[in-house]
């Protein structure tokens, strides 16, 4: 079944930051709240804050403005200031994936290139565990599963149509 080339099942992005490694790790883990793109919201209300519990076995969760909570990751490794690994319990349709066998993994490595320069390498791997990317769509016709993302694309597509 798995004919997808290996390199397609993961992605890697990296960035160099002009700060010491300890500072880089601290900002990433303590202020993840401010770093994560806000528009990816799995709650039905705006996100008030995102909490990253800094220990193995901890979770990452969004807290909505009404107090509702959405837990979307499990911390798998927490090794300051070098490494952070967490699971990605979000399906290709940007919904919470409850089956751990169908979740991927995000590893962030902090590498000191100089006393005040840190390279941050982020790898999101095992994407194939989510399936081929279409599974969630098989339930879309029930209505409830229509994800925010598709709605947004639809709106954008319609706007483009109007502009044309």
């Amino acid at each position: 079944m798995s004919t997808t080339p290996r390199e397609r099942t993961s992605l890697q992005v990296e960035i160099s930051v002009d700060v010491p490694i300890e500072h880089a790790f601290r900002v990433f883990t303590e202020r993840f709240d401010e770093i994560k793109p806000r528009e990816h919201n799995l709650l039905t209300v705006p996100i008030d804050r995102t909490v990253l519990e800094p220990h193995v076995g901890g979770t990452i969760y969004d807290v909505g403005t009404d107090g509702s909570i959405c837990t979307w990751a499990r911390v798998l490794a927490y090794e300051p200031p070098h490494r952070l690994v967490f699971s990605w319990d979000i399906s290709p349709q940007w919904q919470i994936e409850l089956d751990p066998g169908r979740t991927s993994e995000v590893e962030i490595q902090f590498i000191a290139d100089a006393p005040r320069r840190t390279r941050v390498v982020l790898e999101h791997r095992h994407l194939d565990r989510h399936g081929d990317g279409w599974q969630g769509l098989t339930t879309l016709d029930t209505g409830d599963g229509w994800p925010l993302y598709l709605e947004r694309y639809r709106t954008a597509a319609e706007r483009t149509d109007l502009d044309a």
């Binding site: 004919t3 997808t4 390199e7 397609r8 099942t9 992605l11 890697q12 992005v13 990296e14 960035i15 160099s16 930051v17 002009d18 700060v19 010491p20 500072h23 880089a24 900002v27 990433f28 202020r31 401010e34 770093i35 994560k36 793109p37 528009e39 990816h40 290709p92 995000v106 005040r116 941050v120 390498v121 982020l122 999101h124 994407l127 194939d128 989510h130 399936g131 081929d132 990317g133 279409w134 599974q135 769509l137 098989t138 339930t139 879309l140 016709d141 993302y149 598709l150 947004r152 694309y153 639809r154 954008a156 597509a157 319609e158």
Partner: protein
Amino acid sequence: MSRPLPAMCQCVSGSLPNVSRSIADPWHALADPTRRTIFARVAHGPCSVSQIARDLPVSRPAVSQHLRVLLDAHLVDIRRQGRVHLYQPRRDGLNRLRQELEVYWTQTLITFKNLAEQSYQPDHSAAEGTSTP
């Protein structure tokens, strides 16, 4: 392979991920409820136009038309089995997920860099070692 952040900064300013779309917009194709149902049927397992028309309250010509839109959007492809054309989901759903996540993490790292560099207060006593006249 490690990918340094390319000139993707335009993604940060817009609210939409700027994933290139040289093909018909798949999300647009799926905005139609009937097409969604047909796609869901195809995603369930390879099937022919007649099978879809039999399973769903949609006429054969309408099914064919909808399938053409799904083909254009690269959501499905065709496999020939004898004289029958079977429609099946394309396997690049994973690619699309990968692209979306790449935009997501690129945005995350750019925001992180700005925040980390803005919040960094160099320890002057340690930093002045090389610059002291």
